[in-house]
Amino acid sequence: TKERKATIAAAANLRYVLEEIKEQYLKDYPGADLQIIYGSSGTLTQQIINGAPFDLFMSADTKFPSKLEDRGMTSASAINYCYGRVAMWSSTLDLSQGLSAILLPEVKKIAIANPDNAPYGLNSINTLKRLNLYDKVSKRIVWGENINQTAQYTFSGNAEIGFIALSLALAPEMKNKGHYYVLPENICPPIAQAAVLINGWEKNGEASRFLDYIISSQCDHIWKKYGYGLAKKD
Amino acid sequence: MIYIDIEHKILTSEGSRILSVKTELPDNKFICISGPSGIGKTTLLKMIAGLIKPDWGIIQMGDCIFFDSLNNINISPQKRNIGFMFQDYALFPHMTVEENISFAQNKVKDKAWVDTLIKSYGLEALRKQKPNKLSGGQKQRTALARTLAKKADILLLDEPLSSVDSTMRIKLQNEILKTHADFGSTTLLVSHDQDEVNKMGQCVLQLGYDQIRSIKNY
């Protein structure tokens, strides 16, 4: 099986989806050996730049894959494999009224991911700005280092409301523990997530086959189940 | 009057034995303690000072009970108003000779008395010296001066002159006696030098292996 081994570096929030996809994949392609390593997209990118033995990189955005492309570390261009959707989450408040909930007086802290690093944060902020809400709440915002940390701020109750990935709100641990409101696509565009094959993957076809597999329609139901938008099929 | 009646288990060259001392010592007198090495002289002084807790017994100084094993009394060394000179000096390494000596005094410093001591004990030129730059005899003299600086009710001197030469020794014996005459503190001096004991002691407490504590009044 050594010839059919692929090492995949994936953004941490893909864990639940990918484990399920991997299980299904191994049924369809018995004998494949997939090793999936989760980490923050930034850390994984630095490790790839410095020679990490990864075949496929599944980022949580499009910025890091294109940086790798710029450095000539990739053998094909990046492709979108799914879209992440932004959700507002709270454990105490009923969010049925939508975005205006952030103006409630009991909301003392609002957790948003650091827009410099996390596209979820950037899109959330842009939405708030567009709706002229940002200035009204900017003093109450706390910045999560990444989308997971933002979720932790919210789940632990230190922030009353958080702007997190829908996939996190649907994670097994968090289901039914609070209320969420999915930001409509027309006011908050979903986040494109791109994957890219890293130089050296060619030693066997497993990484490329897996990449094809995750964007195939066989996986659509899994992506949907975890709250992701589907990549456009060409 | 100092009343001592204690028993304490110690280990000597002859194996473990009970140090048992029962005696009454007069107030304001100069008392010399002597006995063979390892008999328990230092241990006795430390028990009076409150640094070692006897296994059993009573130590009483005038009306004040320092220690009573039956009634569970054990006054802390700080409250016994004593001056104790350690056999191995135990100078504070971070203080100069002068600082060591004046540290012994209470909040109201008697600078004149410190100066007198420094002069009498031949430490003038070493005032600003730290202990690690002193010779054996110089350390001993500093420790002695520090103990005397406090003007305590009871002075406990553990072989204060063992490391000084004979000329200096005679001079310092007289200095100590003079201090005793001036302030009248009850003084217990341990010495293994028979001449010294005979010269200085108004009373002599002889510790011996037969565990009989002989006391001679002069």
Partner: protein, 225 residues
């Protein structure tokens, strides 16, 4: 160097200095007790003091976050009675820093105290000095090398510590965004040039400060040992 970074550096300095001072105040009595009293469960207490080192900082930070949360007893108590919410405040990251730095300060001071000969205390007591006077005038000056090691290690660790602080602080500029977080941010964003610049400045400032701290040690040693 941007004004923003100067602010960040200032905040870092403030955090490290304050935490170190508070740790000194906590560490001195605790290490004194640990050095001079003997009780059966002492090795347990000593091991417990090391524990903040054993858990990964971000995980420790996560537990702190839960402890601070208004949904929990302690957090809601603070919120109700004092209107304090520790998460995302400077006070919160000070607490985090103190917990993270505890082992260094206490361990250093404790070895210092326990290597002093008992006679120092005994002499001081027979001279009628109280435990407090003995502590400040006799013991403390004689553990100067350990004191300096403790201060240097704690200070350096507070500067570089970022896992717990990042978790508890929420990266708020001017309030909880310290230099190590700023540098981490830039490395994450692959902005190596700025990250290198900032690291260099942080490195240099700390280096000079620590050299000064250690120089005190040196002059002390030459004088007395």
């Amino acid at each position: 160097m941007s004004e923003d970074f100067i602010n960040t550096l200032w905040l870092t300095g403030k955090l490290a200095t304050l935490s170190t001072c508070i740790l000194l105040v906590i560490g001195l009595p605790v290490s004194y007790l640990l050095a001079y009293t003997h009780f059966k469960i002492k090795p347990l207490v000593e091991a417990l003091i090391c524990m903040p080192l054993v858990l990964p900082p971000t995980v420790l930070g996560y537990y702190l976050l839960i402890a601070f949360s208004p949904q929990n007893i302690w957090g809601s108590f603070l919120e109700k009675h004092f209107n304090i919410r520790l998460a995302f405040t400077f006070e919160g990251i000070i607490i985090a820093s103190i917990i993270a730095g505890l082992p260094f300060m206490i361990q250093s001071l404790q070895t210092g105290f326990s290597s002093l000969p008992a006679s120092y205390r005994e002499v001081s007591y027979t001279l009628g000095k109280s435990k407090t006077t003995t502590f400040f005038k006799v013991l403390l000056p004689n553990i100067k090398p350990s004191l300096i090691t403790g201060i240097a290690l704690t200070f350096a660790h507070c500067i570089g510590e970022f896992g717990i602080v990042l978790m508890v602080g929420g990266n708020i500029p001017g309030e909880t965004r310290i230099a190590s977080i700023a540098i981490y941010d830039q490395v994450q964003a692959l902005d190596y040039k700025t990250a290198n610049q900032y690291s260099f400045i942080l490195f240099l400032t700390s280096f000079i400060l620590l050299t000064l701290i250690y120089s005190i040690n040196k002059s002390f040693k030459i004088k007395t040992i």
